[in-house]
């Protein structure tokens, strides 16, 4: 029996029940349906993990959707080590966030709708990671995107929310266009869209080049870069990152689940899944590593000065995703997935804590209006503190192990840009620690800076919210223990302590690393120092002399303004793409054709066809003689054509 089918289809069932019967019957009990389903998925996922640990992987078609000639599309499932890790991450986070939402969304008008969407999202995400062919992957890919837009625009009465949904939609179009094109190229090259034959045959075509837009391009590089387009869209990497910070307009559980733990990591998953393709193309690898590195430092610097609690965490997510891309770019796929896995826990935790804070502050997001919350909400404080320690790479916690592995493999790996991205990664580690603790100190320490009314309202969140926080804390602390570097393992007396790397070996291979133990110790030391240094500096700035950051902001006003305005990327897009388009349409085209361009494109073509339509419809006179005459003429013309040809 295909037990694993329960994993995606339980949430789907929950979605159907909630969407069909939610309004009338389920109503306030909607969470039971969804939570039970997702928890069931989680149990089956754990069961699957046990099977996979025994070496039982699955790669089979459930049923054939379309079969026409050589074109075959099936719903098929591939369950290997990589899939299993993703299953555990998705179902665990999803379950905990579902539970959290019970408290967070309590009393919301669209309660059942919210849970229905969450379940649908979970279904799509699971289909995405469990696919054994590119088309199903694409289906899941678009599915999670769709749910994401629904949920970003969940408060659709709020203009900024629906605008953010639209922005996410449009920006993702760019990436998905490339992704779709990549799948088409794969089908044209291999005649199949299944992972297995594609990955086994890719070696044979790696040297081929094809002419693309007038350039001779290496086929593997072309496919890899097209797929990469999709990855950077979904994972919000430069230059398509602009949608993610705005996506924080959605409810916080959504930010935690979709925009931190699962959906946005789909890009990393794609890179890891297609590692046989990427590994054959050095240019694509270098691009991935550089884009990852640039995004990570870019986002980290912006996060330094922001005041919106959710946006800081969103930029932090961007930055950490950059880390994962960087890891894949240097060939350390295992490390990238490892970071994806640990990151899911501590980042979901950070978001949920932020949600808890917002809950207490009645929706207030501005750090400058908080402060001293630690005595009102001890659980939130403690869990968020641990999560921040983890993300900062404090030894022993989850974030430390995954981050350290990435940095070491970047440094010691064969990648031509390895040393460079290592340097950036280390700086980012420092910055990450700094902004994470800036957030902690500004929120929980010092005096309360909000209004009296707000202070009166402060309270710890209900159990349904704090329990998931505590459970996630376990993950934020301990999830990294499955991947302790062998170097450290020897010290504490565990052999092959980097169990995770061994586990992923059959799928992702073993990354190359050339370096001495001394070097590895040194690098570990540097990254730990960077993390602790960041925390220390934040403490000095925000616990000690509060005047320093103000002074710095004044003195380096130029830099501060750049960071505050997020490097003006939104403005850049606005000035280079959006406004010129509008300007051309309003001025030039309106001047020339006396009509608006939007109307020209959106309405012009249909209108032209409509014009033809209006003329053609006049042929239908309603007069019988005309009809008969047209029939006869038609027959005559056909006859003449065939007989006289």
């Amino acid at each position: 029996m295909n037990y694993y089918l329960l994993i995606p289809f339980l949430p789907l069932t929950a979605f159907l029940i909630n969407i069909l019967f939610g309004k009338k019957y389920v109503q306030e009990r909607a969470h039971w349906v969804s939570i039970l389903a997702v928890a069931g998925s989680w149990i089956v996922a754990v069961f699957t993990l046990l099977k996979v640990l025994k070496g039982e992987t699955v790669n089979e078609d459930l049923y054939t959707w379309v079969l026409s000639g050589t074109f075959e599309v099936s719903v098929g499932f591939l369950i290997d080590q990589l899939t299993t890790v993703m299953l555990i991450v998705v179902t665990t986070c999803s379950t905990l966030i579902h539970i959290y939402s019970v408290g967070y969304m309590h009393g919301d008008k669209g309660y059942y709708r919210f849970f229905a969407y969450l379940s649908l999202f979970t279904f799509c995400m699971l289909m995405l990671v469990m696919a054994n062919n590119f088309l199903q992957l694409y289906f899941g890919w678009e599915g999670v995107g769709l749910c994401s837009y629904f949920l970003i625009g969940y408060y659709f009465n709020k203009k900024s929310a629906s605008d953010a949904g639209k922005k996410a939609f449009i920006v993702n179009r760019f990436g998905d266009f490339g992704f779709g094109l990549g799948i088409i190229v794969i089908f044209l090259t291999f005649g199949t869209i299944y992972y297995e034959p594609v990955f086994t045959q890719i070696g044979g075509v790696a040297a081929q080049t094809i002419s693309f837009l007038g350039y001779e391009v290496n086929l593997a590089t072309l496919i890899a870069l097209l797929l990469f387009c999709g990855a950077i869209g979904k994972s919000a990497q430069m230059p398509l990152h602009v949608w993610l910070p705005d996506a924080m307009e959605g409810p916080t559980p959504v930010s935690a689940l979709i925009h931190a733990a699962t959906m946005v990591t789909a890009g990393v998953f794609l890179l890891a899944r297609c590692s046989p393709i990427f590994s054959l193309s050095e240019p694509a690898m270098v691009v991935a590593a550089l884009i990852g590195a640039i995004t990570s430092i870019f986002a980290a610097t912006i996060a330094l000065v922001q005041n919106d609690i959710k946006r800081i965490i969103a930029y932090s997510t961007l930055s950490q995703l950059g880390y994962m891309f960087l890891a894949c770019g240097v060939g350390a796929y295992t490390a990238g997935i490892f970071h994806l896995y640990t990151h899911a826990f501590f980042k979901a935790l950070l978001f949920l804590c932020a949600g808890s804070v917002m809950h207490a502050m009645a929706g207030e997001l501005d750090l400058q209006k908080m402060g001293g919350l630690k005595k009102y909400m001890p659980v939130t404080y403690a869990t968020m503190f641990i999560a921040s320690l983890s993300i900062s790479g404090v030894p022993g916690l989850a974030g430390f192990f995954s981050k350290d592995e990435i940095l070491w493999l970047a440094y010691a790996g064969p990648s031509p840009v390895g040393k460079f991205v290592w340097a950036i990664g280390t700086i980012v580690a420092f910055l990450t620690a700094f902004y994470s603790f800036r957030l902690i100190f500004l929120t929980f320490h010092g005096e309360f800076r909000g209004t009296q009314k707000q202070e009166h309202h402060l309270h710890e969140s209900p159990k349904s919210m704090t329990v998931p926080l505590m459970l996630l804390t376990i993950g934020a602390v301990a999830s990294g223990w499955v991947g302790i570097p062998n170097l450290l393992g020897e010290v504490i007396g565990i052999e092959h302590s980097n169990w995770f790397s061994g586990f992923m070996n059959p799928v992702l291979g073993h990354p190359e690393a050339h370096g001495t133990h001394a070097e590895e110790w040194m690098l570990m030391g540097i990254s730990v120092l960077a993390g602790l240094g960041g925390i220390g500096l934040a403490a000095v700035f925000y616990l000690g002399r509060r005047s320093i950051p103000v002074l710095l902001a004044q003195k380096f006003g130029f830099i501060y303004r750049i960071l505050w305005n997020k490097y003006y990327v939104d403005e850049l897009y606005s000035h280079t793409i959006v406004r010129p388009t509008l300007w051309i349409s309003q001025n030039i085209l309106m001047g020339i054709t006396d009509a608006k361009i939007i109307e020209l494109i959106v309405n012009g073509v249909p209108r032209a066809i409509g014009g033809v339509s209006q003329h053609l419809r006049k042929v239908q006179t309603g007069l019988l003689q005309h009809y008969a005459a047209i029939m006869a003429t038609g027959a005559l013309i056909i006859g003449a054509w065939i007989l006289l040809r």
């Binding site: 959707w65 379309v66 079969l67 339509s613 009809y627 008969a628 029939m631 056909i638």
Partner: protein
């Protein structure tokens, strides 16, 4: 003097049972006052025929005039389905239109009997008679609302032009008979090949005349002129009936005659059908854009869909034929489903057949709007609905037969079609309701909608069962 030999009746059993039950329905009309009884009786008849159909051996009888095979079985299923769905959506509608008479059901059964004979015809004479039986019954049904001028006009135009098309068919039959001395499809094919008549002008002319007559039945341009007027004027339930049944029957005979009798001149008839297909898709989709009456819009949509289905015939392969059959089955579900929603809007004193009547339907009747959305998506061909699957298979078979450029044309017209289908969706969901619309929902209508909507989605998600059934049906062709 030839001896009378009792022919093997087993393969004709479904038709015999159908005839008997149609007569029973006719007599029951006198006995029962409640006409709903007749509706149930005719559905029961069809179900009975359905079971008989599956017990029928695949054989040829009546000197090769009647062929029972997988191909005819598949089409007969479409016809029977068409009857069930039409009857379900008719029951309340006939009361509203004040034409609740028993002959309606008998005529539907007789028309279906004609279609079944067409699908099984192995001889041009049987084919012609089946076609006339179907057509004459349908003419009457189109004019069933005798007090309504539009309905009368529809029947009149359909009848006169239909007679005109029949003349073409008879002319074609007489020509091929004059040349080959037979009306048997296989014998015609043999005669053409044996005597090397593949370039003979009489064969060409007769083939063209067949193409014209069948194009009329499937409403292909430029022989479609009757369709918009007839579809708009006829009672809505009859429009649903005749947009599916006669069209499918037309394709059944088109496939059989062209692939068997004219199989050796494939290149010539595809040269005839290709321009017809392009014109059909083009005119159907483009003129549909400027329609304001939803029945008329669906008439043009029905024309366009015939154009897509023609691609499968043009492909000329077994796979192409299977995809056409698959498409027609899917079309039966989605089109009758759409008509069921239209009928639901028809109440006493409210026509509900202009596009603006659908404004804000999602607010007042969310379920009806959602169903309409499913059918419109399917007609557009948006996955995961059945309409997408149907189009995909047709297009794939055409691509494999080497008609990629034709598929590109079809996809472009298909994209244009999205405009008018989705306009209905836009009206339903994006606009505010103008006046309160009440629905004439009945259990029967509910069953029809449930069947069609479920089928549209299930076939969209799990198409392989239907497709492999169609492929198996063609295999014994």
């Amino acid at each position: 003097m030839p001896e009378f030999v009792m022919p093997d009746l087993a393969p004709v059993m479904p038709e015999i049972v159908m005839t008997i039950l149609a007569l029973v329905t006719l007599i029951a009309d006198i006995i029962f006052k409640r006409k709903e009884t007749l509706a149930i009786l005719s559905i029961a008849s069809v179900v009975l025929v359905f079971f008989v159909l599956f017990g029928t051996p695949f054989k040829t009888t009546f000197n090769g005039m009647f062929i029972a095979d997988g191909y005819s079985l598949f089409f007969k299923l479409i016809f029977l389905l068409n009857v069930v769905l039409t009857v379900l959506i008719s029951m309340r509608y006939l009361v509203i239109e004040r034409v609740n008479f028993g002959e309606y059901y008998s005529l539907i059964l007789f028309a279906t009997l004609g279609m079944m004979l067409m699908a099984s015809a192995g001889d041009l004479i049987v084919l012609y008679l089946g076609l006339e039986l179907m057509a004459l019954s349908t003419y009457i049904l189109a004019g069933f609302i005798t007090y309504d001028m539009k309905s009368n006009e529809a029947a009149m135009k359909y009848f006169l032009l239909g007679a005109f098309a029949s003349a073409f068919l008879l002319y074609g039959i007489s020509m091929i008979y004059g040349l080959t001395g037979t009306t048997d499809l296989n014998a015609i094919s043999e005669y053409i090949i044996l005597n090397g008549l593949t370039a003979n002008p009489v064969v060409m002319l007769s083939m063209i005349l067949f193409a014209v007559a069948f194009s009329f039945k499937i409403a292909a341009v430029p022989f479609h002129m009757w369709a918009p007027d007839a579809y708009e004027g006829a009672p809505t339930s009859v429009t649903a009936f005749m947009s599916v049944g006669p069209k499918a029957a037309g394709f059944a005979v088109l496939g059989r005659v062209f692939l068997i009798a004219f199989g050796s001149v494939r290149m010539d008839w595809s040269a005839v059908l290709i321009p017809i297909a392009i014109l059909t898709m083009g005119v159907g989709n483009i003129v549909a854009l400027s329609q304001t009456n939803i029945k008329r819009m669906l008439a043009y949509s029905s024309i366009a869909h015939a154009g897509y289905a023609l691609l499968g015939i043009i492909a000329g392969t077994g796979e192409g034929l299977a995809s056409v059959m698959n498409y027609l089955l899917i079309y039966a579900f989605m089109n009758i489903g759409a008509f069921a929603v239209i009928i639901m809007l028809r109440t006493e004193g409210f026509k509900g057949d202009t596009i603006t009547d659908y404004e804000g339907l999602a607010k007042s009747h969310p379920l009806a709007a959602a169903l309409m959305l499913v059918f419109m998506f399917s007609l557009t061909g948006i996955p995961p609905t059945a309409g997408f699957m149907g189009k995909l298979y047709i297009f794939m078979s055409a691509v494999y037969a080497g008609y990629t450029w034709l598929v590109v044309v079809a996809v472009i017209f298909s994209a244009i079609s999205a405009y008018f289908y989705l306009r209905i969706v836009m009206y339903m969901y994006m606009r505010e309701p103008k006046e309160s619309v009440s629905l004439a929902a009945t259990p029967a209508l509910g069953i029809a909608l449930a069947i069609t909507a479920a089928a549209v989605i299930i076939i969209g998600v799990l198409p392989s069962a239907v497709v492999s059934f169609a492929r198996a049906a063609v295999a014994g062709f």
